[in-house]
Symmetry: C2
Subunit: 237 residues, 2 copies
Amino acid sequence: MTVSRLVKVKKACQNCNVRELCLPTSLEGVELNLMDEVVQQRIRLQQGDYLYNTGDGFKGIYAIKSGSLKTSGITIDGKEQVTGFHLGGEIIGMDAIDEEIHACDAIALTDTEVCHLPFDKIREISIQIPPLLKDLTRIMSREIRREEHVLMLLGSTTAEQRIARFLVNLYDRLQKRGELENIITLFMSRQDVGNYLGLAIETVSRQFKNFRDKQIIEVDKKNIKVLDMQRLLEIAE
Amino acid sequence: MTVSRLVKVKKACQNCNVRELCLPTSLEGVELNLMDEVVQQRIRLQQGDYLYNTGDGFKGIYAIKSGSLKTSGITIDGKEQVTGFHLGGEIIGMDAIDEEIHACDAIALTDTEVCHLPFDKIREISIQIPPLLKDLTRIMSREIRREEHVLMLLGSTTAEQRIARFLVNLYDRLQKRGELENIITLFMSRQDVGNYLGLAIETVSRQFKNFRDKQIIEVDKKNIKVLDMQRLLEIAE
DNA sequence: CGGCGTCTTGAGTCACCTCAATGTTCGTGG
DNA sequence: CCACGAACATTGAGGTGACTCAAGACGCCG
């Protein structure tokens, strides 16, 4: 079930507001023109739309221009496992480069725009533009480190610590994108948060309450206002 | 603390027994000669030696020729978190490509030989040999998928399931390398297993006993003989 | 208004952790 | 060769944090 709308674009990268976070960070001028030719297609997703499904053939990687997605796989016993939440400037789909089959689903959590990057073309022009090759390896390296980071996150024993780290991480990422006015807007459900952190949904709820009681955050539905970042950092350690 | 012995090598790849699992899988003939020039140095590690430490500057990636290592990071509160166990043919150190600083330690669990691959040189000759570029992106993609797989592993609720999946995974990997005669030799401590799976060491012990009582495995120190792979797979699901 | 999905809250249970003691392996030195 | 200690592993007893189950609140939409 992949619902989406395709849009032809020109000069996709030159005018993009998340370019410095995205793939072609080192490119300028003529080189950027070449990159723009790679990005022929932008995809508009509505909340709930699938960008790709587990098992889909690999058509390329995707750069998130705006919005947010989650990636989630299916464990051997058929349960969902959320492996990440992704924001503007991030690249997804790289887990499929090797076997040319997507190992997880990518689902829009809000209305989202992504740029389609055909991977063969990326490789082709990487050979012509060495800085792009460097960017490519750096982006992939970053994804490896991100997942290591999640592993560390899950290493924390207590639910309190996991939630704290989750919030700090989200805060930092939203801040870097200027999508934060002291209020974290959770773009995913409590269900997804719990699944991602290996916690029951009730535990997520209770921990929010816990932080609220300690006057560390204010919770209003999806909006979380951080009142005491210092305490939050201490709990996250 | 990096204790190690350097060895100059020639024709490192051409004669290597894990080449088909390693980086230059698509190369042949002249191309392989070029690759051999990249691999000038092999490093011998004894059990317990560090290949690199968190914070070390990035000098390149490493291909494991023989032996085994663990990678582990330090969580913000100072505890160790094992992020992976690595066997012959696997590449480690790719998390440092982006920021040029290693984000984790790599420690030899047995006597180990690794080939040092200076990353700038890899990139250089990737431009001359497109198949190598393809291999490179595939290897990095595989690492991304491996970590996603670990995330799924930790998604399992019960300790029993985690241990079962851990054993099945190890079984498969050792089998692929012919290092298995129906007996899995654990090259890491119970401590490491527990840390990796997010379980207390005592729980690891008890689960081994549990499987022993159910006659699914036989345990003799570090050696685990799988008696009933079917049951093990069922539990792993 | 009613129905549905999402979230919160409470009560009770259990799996895993902690603490503590014992057992085993292995290296070291007498 | 054995004695000793350190590191690692097993086993038991007990406590607790997070899960499960269940009920209720809330927001959203027809």
